[in-house]
Symmetry: none
Subunit: 211 residues, 4 copies
């Protein structure tokens, strides 16, 4: 008697359907949150049966976790390149970085992920971890070395680069990002983004200006 079917008779098809389900789940979870989305809806949106859903994901919680990992890892755009220009002055670079950071955080996907994950943080602790790593940790990962480099070059005077980097990200969330998370009405045009970005970049450079 042959052994039971190999784990993935045709891995491509298997992963394809998995992606198909995740795509359906994304639409719905981002639109209606975790509790507001039913597995039936996901099945319909993904064009598969409810039974198939459970062949690919053990439970609603597992599907949601997989989705969040997927979104966090795959969809977060890269910020790195902005910090690569070594000849640009600190203020200019940080203003550009703040602007990029704000734009990413104001993305509907990022806002909804933030809301859902904060809401379900107690229920899905590892998700909070993943999201944090991808959303903030990645930026920190490039910003901290950059700060250290500029400090070494005498352009900044930073003792605790990690704390400084976190302060910068806090400043960048001022007004726009913080309020949008609550769906509070806020005028959010180019001028506003520029205003907050400039305020964050110049503020940071003043805080950590060399004597």
């Amino acid at each position: 008697m042959p052994p039971p079917a190999q784990p993935d008779p045709n891995a491509a098809a298997y992963l394809g359907k998995q992606q198909q389900i995740l795509a359906g789940a994304e639409t719905l979870f981002l639109a209606h949150g975790y509790e507001g989305t039913s597995m039936s809806q996901v099945a319909r949106q993904a064009g598969v049966s409810k039974g198939t859903l459970y062949n690919y994901f053990d439970s609603k919680a597992a599907l949601f976790s997989a989705l969040v990992e997927n979104l966090s890892v795959a969809k977060q755009p890269f910020i790195v390149s902005i910090l690569d220009n070594d000849s640009e002055d600190c203020t200019t670079t940080l203003i550009k970085l703040a602007e990029k950071f704000i734009r990413v955080m104001m993305t509907p996907t990022a806002l909804m992920l933030y809301r859902i994950i904060v809401a379900e943080a107690a229920k899905f602790p590892q998700l909070a971890d993943i999201f944090w790593q991808q959303a903030f940790g990645r930026t920190l990962g490039v910003l901290v070395p950059w700060i250290e480099k500029r400090t070494a070059r005498g352009e900044l005077n930073v003792q605790d680069a990690t704390l400084a980097a976190e302060q910068f990200m806090s400043l960048a969330q001022t007004h726009l990002v913080n309020r949008r998370r609550f769906e509070l009405p806020v005028t959010c045009d180019e001028a506003q983004i520029a205003r907050i970005s400039i305020a964050a970049g110049t503020a940071f450079c003043k805080i950590y200006a060399p004597d």
Copy 2:
């Protein structure tokens, strides 16, 4: 003709039971969120029948709204007094303010309210408004005039006091508050609070130092 019956022959008892229900609701909503809490659980926790619940609150949403208003308005401690000391230098005052602000935001109640309201912002827009007003708006309301006064006295150099005040609150949320909202592990002792407070207070004063 006699006047119609008083609306509440024994208002004390009525309000008492209302508080009793709100107390039960607080426990559960803060622990399990809006969707995660059922009216049956609230009834049991509050020691009343389900019918009584609906005599006092028209619906689950109404009960939740009342609870959030209650918590937002009643429980948020006052911060005002810190800013009253006119002879203290800016940095010292702002460090004290940051410390107080952090402590309030780290309160279990404040953290859970933040999570739940961010999660349900789309469903209860007016609650997001109320919470924001009470949690941040109130602080802004005293901080902005204080900044203007210190600017007038030449101790600060602030053009846009509101933006500056929002930046200060952003700085105060650095690391501790931001991470705790995701239930991320973070060492949160007196030393840490002091460190973040000092960083926020001194940063602000450097940003807005008179020339």
Copy 3:
């Protein structure tokens, strides 16, 4: 020790409040039916407390019964007079009677009573009896003797006056009344009423014309 309070310390007030309750109940039961009306609504509409309701009526069923008796007995307009004119020819009198009968049956009150009582006939058998007596029995009570009189005068040739009277009422319900009970759309102007009335009156006289 004195005996307990007399049954009606001030009968006028007692009956007044009873009428007040019945008035409120009428509005609601006619508008929403038996199951669709709650005692709370009745209390509110009548301007009394729920407790008072139960002081005057033992139960919802008892209140409904009292209301139907009240409406059936009190509100059904009198038809008698039309049949008093002995010098008028049969056809003319019956056309007038049919017209009056149709108008009464098309009354919102009569239509709703019909619907509700037919609906609840199994639950409230005595109500069906009362309503029938008042709505149809009363008309029968004057129509049968009239038919007998006209037969005696040789103007009609009726063997079974009761059957004949019931046939006349059936004819009068043709089209308009029968359809309105189902809320079916039907043009119901003066011309239509006249048309059905004339058809019923002339038909009857043809059926029972003396040889």
Copy 4:
């Protein structure tokens, strides 16, 4: 790409269960009316779970509507054949028709449908329509042409065949049908049915006898 899954891999089983549910619903709705029947009771009576009920019917109203359509369309026996005998004289044919009509209308199903639909006419206008069509419209549909044919043959003298047909049906409901709808006690044996039928048939022929 394979065609999508068939809508009902085993339609027989699907329709079978639907019928099973409708059968249970019929028992209960006819016995207790719309408001008096709960979905739990229907589920128990039909031997399925409450969830299954909602897999087959979107709501209680939808189930009720489906049931009424089902009963109206499927169960109403055909009357047509009686009118096919062209050599029979009018009176005899109409007496037979009246008898058949009375028997159908006195069916427990027809009586209960009448009661429930009259009761819920405002809530389910389209049901009233369907029931009326099936119960009365169908008879009208064959009776009107028959009357016109007999008029053409000189056996009747009818101007408005539709009005005449409706009058005939009204006459046939005299006494027995009208009273049974109110569950009023009425002796309803063969003799009674014959008596009313004969009265209706002969009456009609007298009304519309050719000069």
